[in-house]
């Protein structure tokens, strides 16, 4: 008999559900804003809204399979829209979605500090995975500017706090 060690209360490990509108609309809106706002506001590329949405849904649903599928779908569509090889963001966000869901089962990820830290780490992890896939599978030579990656991770962590609070309102509490 295995015992799952959890640092969350029973209430916190409750699996949250979302309406179909939220489950489809939020990722689509994130993808849309990411591509639409990047034109007039170049600095928006420092954020990765699809990644934030992947993390949020993964953590909130707390089901690894659902989380990884959510990440795979969001990442793949992001690849199609960005014009890069389909699978780069797909694989990276699949893994992030899986780990975010797994993390949600074990840790309290609902307070702002943990959300910032979690997003910071997941963003770095995402960039490492993305770069590794790019180099190993695609044969790319581009190594990201890690200083900028750190800055982006920090910015995404900061954005995650209010964004996740906003998205919390979409949860269906049963």
């Amino acid at each position: 008999m295995s015992i799952t060690i959890s640092y969350t209360s029973r209430e916190e490990i409750a699996v949250h559900k979302f309406s179909w509108v939220a489950a489809l609309g939020v990722p689509l809106l994130a993808l849309l804003l990411q591509t639409f706002l990047a034109r007039p506001f170049r600095f928006i590329t420092i954020f990765d809204l699809p990644l934030l949405v992947t993390i949020f849904f993964g953590v909130a649903r707390r089901r690894p399979i659902t989380g990884l599928i959510t990440g795979a779908l969001i990442g793949s569509v992001q690849d199609y829209l960005a014009g890069v090889y389909a699978g780069l963001n797909g694989i990276a966000k699949t893994i992030i979605g899986y780990f975010a869901s797994s993390l949600g089962l074990r840790l309290d990820v609902e307070n702002p500090g943990s959300r910032f830290l979690m997003t910071f780490v997941f963003y770095l992890m995402h960039q490492v995975i993305y770069t590794a896939i790019d180099i190993v599978l695609v044969g790319g030579k581009g190594v990201p500017n890690w200083g900028r990656v750190l800055l982006s991770a920090f910015a995404n962590g900061l954005l995650a706090v209010p964004l996740f609070s906003l998205l919390d309102r979409l949860k269906i509490r049963g």
Binding site: L32, F36, A38, R42, L68, Y80, A82, V84
Partner: protein
Amino acid sequence: MESFYTRYKNPLVLIAVVFIQAIGLATQIQRPDPQSSARTGSTRLIRVWAVSAITPVEHALISTGHFFRNTWYGYVDLHNVRKQNLALQAEIDHLRMEKAQLSEEAGQARRLQALLGFKEHFASATVPAQVIAGSGTEQSRIVTIDRGASSGLAVDMPVVTPDGIVGKVKDVFRSSAQVLLINDRESGAGVVMRQSRLQGILKGSSRGQVFISYIMSDEKVEVGEQVVTSGGDRIYPKGFPVGVVTSIAPDRDNDPFLAIQVKPAADLDRLEEVLVITKVADAEPDVLAGPAPTRAADVLAQRLPGVPASNANKAGAPALPGTTAQPATPSTAGAVQQPANIQKNAVGPGSNAPLQGQKPAAPVGQPAGLPKRPSAGAKPQSSPSATPAPRSEEKTEGKTGENAEHHNASPATGQKGTRPTPRPTPSATENPPR
């Protein structure tokens, strides 16, 4: 007892999903399709669906933004002004609004004039387009424009602004298209230095910088030198501005070569209106600006006018259509004294300098009554057979006005000022963009 699958269901699903995507990724890379973009080979349909689903929303967002902006500036703001001012003040404000509108229209007119001016000079058919979206990531430099296959766009068409080249069409959908910018790491373009005439390949980097590769490290390149397209990639029009050299350093990846960083002439971060060149003027008019090609036999004939001219007449050469054959007279001896002038003015195929105050001597077999060679831009008045047909390379190289300036920029033409490179001429096809 738990089965293996039940116990490790989550990791197994993760591995399976990642594996499937990795296979899909590998399939895209291993399928070089010369007819289409390799990055979209196996995912074309899904990509079309994704973009087609997003593009209408982006169109709607832009339209909504324009609506609110127009409503604000055209009604709400004006309404507030009217409420706060007297009739005279309202009139002044109205004039200010009108002035602002006129100023906006004047700016737009200037932009359109620039676009039109470009169109006249470089391309025979262009489609103006508006940038509606970017890639949203730092990993790719791609923008989406609001024109697609319905406007006649096709893959690999060059996209430019009056300032310089922007990129090429990467994917075309029904009402939109994705443009691969020149600072994307997958892009490539054949370029040439305007002054030193060195040729190289323009490539982007993962950080959005633009570099020129395949220029030997012993070549002399100066910062500030202008870079133009060479036309060797068969995508971008020749002689179109690319940018300015900003730094020069040894290329660590390609040791004997330089890595020359270029600042793009077009502001790639603030693209709004672009032109897609749907048809490049690859066929030039028959009337070229440069002098007629002079054969060695003709020069010899001019230096020895009596013998060949009389021979020609003795042979009873028929008069060319539209011309009047005249027997050799001492007046043709005037041609003997003019070759120096011809040589002086014959500066190259691209030259449009007229023979100032001189009348070109009639070559052998060409009667003196043959109409003078028309100037640049004029239509030929004589029969095509009366004027020596220009060579094929002259058809593409000889241009007039600004075209001549740009099109003469190719070292391949062997013109004056051309600096030959000791290595094979690079072209974008050597390193095709993925």
